[in-house]
Amino acid sequence: MTDSVAGISGMIIEKLLANPKVPRDIDGNSKIVEDLAFDSLAVMNFVMEIEDELDVSVPLDKLADIRTINDLAGCLHTLKVAHA
């Protein structure tokens, strides 16, 4: 389930929905900062949780280009493929 961008995106959404403060209607196109009201620290801390799941580390400069959940999934997928 975590070997495709869509699979990773679904996993991210599932993890996000475990937090009651996150709006219920999010999807892959939701913007992490604007739609989820995450500040930069919250984004970094959330990414740490997914890193463990996928056994990758996301360098901070990569986070700068990420706006949506799908962007994040794409980035994680690229790292996972490179690492495999």
Partner: protein, 397 residues
């Protein structure tokens, strides 16, 4: 024309929300003047200072004051130049030699602030081909140095050797240099880093290790060399960075190391080169404060006793503090409104502490950051604890 300040709208709203709910602006506290290390005049009242970084009380050291006055009278008040041009006086060299000797290291570079020591050391040591592994709760100066360096930045979980090792293992095919950075004592929570464990890990994985002992220099270790000395792992720490602005009570920063390669850092570290060097009276005061600190190890003993007294006292009145007994004791509260109310009430009752709000705090909760000094008397600590207890009861905590 695009409004250049439009980007601050979110910040403005947060700021206005916060200041509207607070009888005074927490970012604009004025200490009209200190009357001793532990007492200052705030809003016309004598106020107990429990939110400084003056751990040994040396900002008021007689010897440091005399050294500053005498040096200002004989050498003037500034250098007007960079360390690599006209800004190195004999005194700068002397302080570097003294610090190298104190830390038992071959080399020392002095910077104009601790912030610049981090910026200047990190940005000179690594570049885009390298990887930095930073403790997630690192100080802003470490994050900023990382940005300036252009290196890849990977965060590991706060004080977590297992997480660090996992991340290093993922980097096993990386060809660039790897630099791990951790602090000694964390400034917001008082947590102490497991530097000894990080040394084991860096050795196994062929990485370098830098420790920022800003809050532990002069505070921990039998001689005050910090957490690395306390944990007996100094040989495994490649670079130690720190500041004079806390235990020594002046201003400025340093990096000490045994690596000969740092000689050239003086010619490529931009935060070292492109700023004026410290004024001579500051260097003289810093040297005198360092001598004072070495001559009076009892200050460290007193500080530890005071830390234990404050920590136990705050726990006894039912407040939530960190587990480490260190000179920084953070009281964790749940909501920002509660923290702002609590902080104002403390100040109105004569106790100043630091109000620390997310995102500058580790886990998104507000903190009342208290710090203790060797200069506090037991009565002053008990008084502060009593005020904390009264305010907590008032707020139903």
């Amino acid at each position: 024309m695009t409004d250049i300040f439009a980007k601050h709208q979110g910040l403005r709203e947060a700021y206005e929300g916060l200041t509207a709910a607070s009888p005074r602006n927490p970012f604009e506290v004025v200490i009209e003047r200190p009357i001793s290390a532990s007492v200052g005049i705030i809003e016309g009242r004598e106020t107990l200072l429990f939110g400084t970084n003056n751990y040994l009380g040396l900002s008021q050291s007689k010897k440091a004051i005399e050294a500053a006055v005498e040096t200002a009278e004989t050498m003037g008040v500034g250098t007007t130049g960079s360390r690599i041009a006209n800004g190195t006086f004999g005194l700068h060299r002397k302080l570097e030699a003294k610090l190298a000797e104190f830390f038992r290291r071959k080399h020392c570079m002095v910077f104009s602030t601790g912030y610049q020591a981090n910026l200047g050391t990190i940005s000179a040591l690594v570049n885009k081909d390298d990887v930095l592994l930073l403790d997630a709760d690192s100080h802003a100066s470490i994050y900023d140095g990382a940005k300036l360096s252009g290196a890849q930045v990977i965060r590991f979980r706060h004080n977590d050797p297992v997480d660090l090792e996992k991340r290093l293992a993922r980097l096993k095919d990386h060809t660039g240099a790897k630099l791990i950075i951790a602090e000694g004592i964390y400034s917001m929570t008082g947590n102490v880093a497991p530097l000894d464990k990080f040394v084991d890990i860096k050795t196994r994985h062929g990485a370098y290790l830098m420790a920022d002992e800003a809050h532990s220099f002069g505070v921990l270790g039998a001689h005050g060399r910090g957490v690395a000395e306390m944990q007996g792992c100094e040989d495994g720490i490649d670079f130690v960075v720190g500041t004079f602005s806390k235990s020594l009570g002046t201003v400025g920063g340093y990096c000490v190391t045994n690596h000969d390669g740092v000689d050239l850092m003086r010619l490529c570290s931009r935060p070292y080169m492109f700023t004026a060097s410290l004024p001579p009276e500051i260097i003289a005061a810093t040297m005198a404060a360092l001598e004072d600190m070495q001559a009076r190890p009892e200050l460290r003993t007193k500080l530890q006793e005071n830390a234990a007294r404050l920590h136990a006292g705050l726990q006894k009145v039912g407040l939530k503090t960190g587990e480490h007994v260190s000179p920084v004791v953070a009281v964790t509260l749940e909501t920002v409104d509660q923290a702002v109310g609590f902080w104002n009430a403390l100040l109105e009752n004569g106790v100043y502490v630091n109000l620390s709000l997310p995102p500058a705090t580790p886990d998104n909760r507000p903190l009342l950051r208290c710090s203790v000094m060797a200069a506090h008397s037991p009565e002053e600590i008990d008084r502060a604890v009593a005020v904390f207890g009264e305010v907590a009861r008032h707020f139903g905590l």
